[in-house]
């Protein structure tokens, strides 16, 4: 249920982001979701793509790239929807390390979470009736 995200270390310098994205673009890999965590010196580019294996094999030539497990929770496009998910985590004392939200034509709105306890998060959310985006949905 958890899906694979790519985390790529890039320097916070002009042209670095486009250099990275070009590699993915040239290989006809589709980017489903994207977020960047940054500091003054560097950025961590997080991508969910249509072909994770291929993207890693291309990127690891020149970059530090790491596969990270995240969960992508389908969400109603309504007021209070995000809070419902966060409340589950809060009650279970699950720590959210970072999160970002996306909408996609077929999938609707979804939120990506990197949490410290993927297994418990999935169990609790499933119990409360939430559904997830799976790797197969992204191809």
């Amino acid at each position: 249920m958890a899906i694979k995200q790519l985390s790529i270390f890039i320097e916070n310098k002009e042209g670095k982001l486009s250099d990275t994205i070009k590699i993915i673009s040239d290989a006809d890999i589709n980017i489903r979701a994207l977020s960047i965590g940054d500091s003054q010196d560097f950025g961590i580019l997080r991508l969910i793509v249509s072909d994770t294996e291929k993207a890693i094999s291309l990127l690891k030539e020149d970059y530090i790239v790491k596969e990270t497990e995240v969960i992508a929770v389908k969400m109603d496009d309504k007021e209070g929807a995000l809070y419902k998910i966060l409340k589950v985590f809060e009650d279970a004392k699950i720590n959210v390390e970072y999160t970002y939200a996306f909408t996609a034509p077929k999938l609707g709105a979804y939120v990506v979470f990197r949490v410290n306890d993927v297994k418990s998060a999935e169990e609790l959310l499933t119990k409360d009736g939430f559904t997830f985006v799976n790797d197969g949905d992204l191809n």
Partner: protein
Amino acid sequence: MANYFQPEIETASREEIIRIQNEKIVKQVKHVYDNVKYYRDLMDEKGVKPEDIKSIDDIKKLPFLTKNDLREAYPYGLLGTDLKNCVRIQSTSGTTGKRVVAFYTQHDIDLWEECCARAIVAAGGTNEDVVQVCYGYGLFTGGPGLNGGSHKVGSLTLPMSSGNTDRQIQFMMDLGSTILCCTPSYAAFIGESLAEKGYKPEDNKLKAGIFGAEPWTEEMRRSIEKSLGIKAYDIYGLTETSGPGVSFECSEQKGMHINEDHFYAEIIDPDTGEVLPEGSKGELVFTSLDKEAFPLLRYRTRDICILTREKCSCGRTHVKMTKPMGRSDDMMIIRGVNVFPSQIETVLLNEGYTPNYQILVDRKNNTDTLDINVELTPEQFSDKVSDIQAMEKALEGAMRTMLGIGPKVHLVAPKSIVRSEGKAVRVIDNRKLHD
């Protein structure tokens, strides 16, 4: 008007200085040979006996000492007397975390302080002056050396040590300091701080400054002189030979007189070790002539400079050295602290990083900056920004412990540090240090 602390020796004739050196070198070599096994072995290896040294010209026969010997012999291997005769230790940071430790008997302290006193008097100091010493006190020789020199002159000494600029300025204004002793970059910083507080150069009572422990340019001298309304004098020394005061500038402000009744200077070709004729540019080598606890014969300083014996208008007859024009090794002086790239490499390896790094040194607002770029490995990569920042902070802490100054560490992508001809450029120093 010329001012001397010990006029008879500072203005002695060339013949008299040579006579003193001849007499002292024979004794000093015998003292070392009899008491320092490490150097005795070096002499034996070279087949030189103390009897072979009959005058200062024979010094060429002696083997060199390097910083590496000091590390090998750490801590007591070069000690020239019983510890019970020693009264002081001073120290400098060394390459592998091992420090250079220098020992002093009371005789050695007196000799050192007299050298500093000569520098203070040359800068116009008398027993009516208030000498503000803001070199660091402690193991660093700057504070204790100038403090002792000021006592010998009979000046009122303000042992401020470094830092706390507001307090430095308050004491300077309230107690009417007339001579300032610190690093040139700190003098420039004090000048700026005074201006920020609304003081004009004529508001302070300072007349002179004795600035050393790091390289500085003529341009920086003029700027400090203007901002503080003083005459700025250079002073040179190193812990290995005692500390500051090995040489100092006089009213001419053109080269530093070496106290050659205590320290004999040679210029050598750093590659061949050959002694070069007067006026040549090369590596400066010092021989102590009168030390008990830590006598060093032919110690290679790695500083590149020129010696001249041109007649000086101040009346001093001692040989002059130019400001160091560079180094024959890779040592950098950053905020007055000696830093070797190998120290940085040692920390990186200890902390589990690759030795792929680059050191960037610059001077911003008269303060040296030290940035270290370190390549991250895939194994170390966490996709949390805060994790990477915590790694940088931890590395900065380890560097500060090793170097004595705090750098800014930046973790960078692998292979991002430019390699020229396959070899990475380790140090980029953008400071203008030499004229």
